[in-house]
């Protein structure tokens, strides 16, 4: 049983003691949504929030523990997104080469067969 030692009166907010996940959950995911002049893609934030739900301990503690999964997560890190794109490109290029090689061989094969028949 974890209980706060303080009672709600006089008003004392939770921010000094609340864990980061609780603060982020509210500040990012709850609260009034008003479209400001600076438009940010809310969908981006939703994605971020889902990822952030995974965060319970402080970020520092996570880093201490060697947990830095978000750095490789395309939804969280633009660097990871770039890497993902580069990887996909390389994969597609390799596939294309393989296909070209195969169709090239087939053509050769057909040509050879043609010669043999004639």
């Amino acid at each position: 049983m974890t209980m706060p030692t303080r009672l709600p009166s006089p008003y004392e907010g939770p921010s000094s003691s609340a864990n980061l996940a609780d603060i982020l959950e509210r500040v990012l995911d709850k609260g009034v949504v008003i479209a400001g002049d600076i438009r940010i893609d809310l969908l981006d934030i939703e994605l971020l929030t889902i990822k952030l739900r995974l965060i319970i301990a402080s970020v520092d503690k996570a880093k201490e523990m060697g947990i830095d999964w978000w750095e490789d997560d395309p939804a969280l890190s633009s660097r990871a997104r770039r890497q993902e794109l580069a990887r996909e490109n390389a994969e597609l290029r390799a596939r294309l080469e393989r296909m070209e090689a195969i169709s090239g061989e087939e053509e050769l094969e057909r040509a050879r067969e043609g010669r043999e028949r004639s």
Binding site: Y11, G13, S15, R26, V27, L28, K30, G36, D37
Partner: protein, 257 residues
Amino acid sequence: MSALRYVYALCRPFSAPLQHPLTGVGGAPARQVEHHGLVAVVSQVPEEDFAEEPLKAHLEDLDWLTATARAHQKVIDALSGVTTPLPLRLATVFRDDSGVRVMIEERKDDLRRALDRVEGRVEWGVKVYIDDRETDTAESDSPAGKATSGRDYLRQRRTRTMAHEEMWEKVEEFARRLHGTLSSHAEESRLHAPQNSVLSRASGRNVLNAAYLVARSSSEEFVELVGRTGDDTPGIRVELTGPWAAYSFTGLMEGET
């Protein structure tokens, strides 16, 4: 670089003085923009951080996000000491004061309704955890000891699985009961998605993650109620956070009225 306006909250005009000079994101002083009998609490933020592109990049930077979220929450907390603020979502940004006024003008009816709904109330967060370590320890302490044959192994595995399932059922039942009791003592309640504890196995698995809207005057009672309902069963842990501004009850989220 010019400055933009970051809006933290909306509230009714208040006369009580804030305890300390209020500072917001980046240490900038917070001030009030009053319009149509509503007050927006704003501070200036640099365009180089809060224009669309840099903001998007920042939102992926956990250190930045943490600092900004804490600064945001600090302002909301300070306001809660003197009035009942309607907290906005992180990074609600306008070009200038007149942009803020236009927003108030357009949304004033919604905002007033939402403010009435939360006036004099606070939000309490209650989470129930099942401590996986407890159940694991209980299992390894079981007299069965090491399996000596394949059949033994299967039997032990079955016993473990059943113990685990029983524990889960017990915790779920406990959470359901607790939520029922607390809901009946709150004006409104919301169930949030459980927090996933990938990063801190020590604190167990989150089974219930709920928020309750409670009148400030009944809050002491509510806190005591949570304390009394806490279960002594090993492996179950109840955590209370708050009082928060009524983040989960603003009624202006998508999909709500």
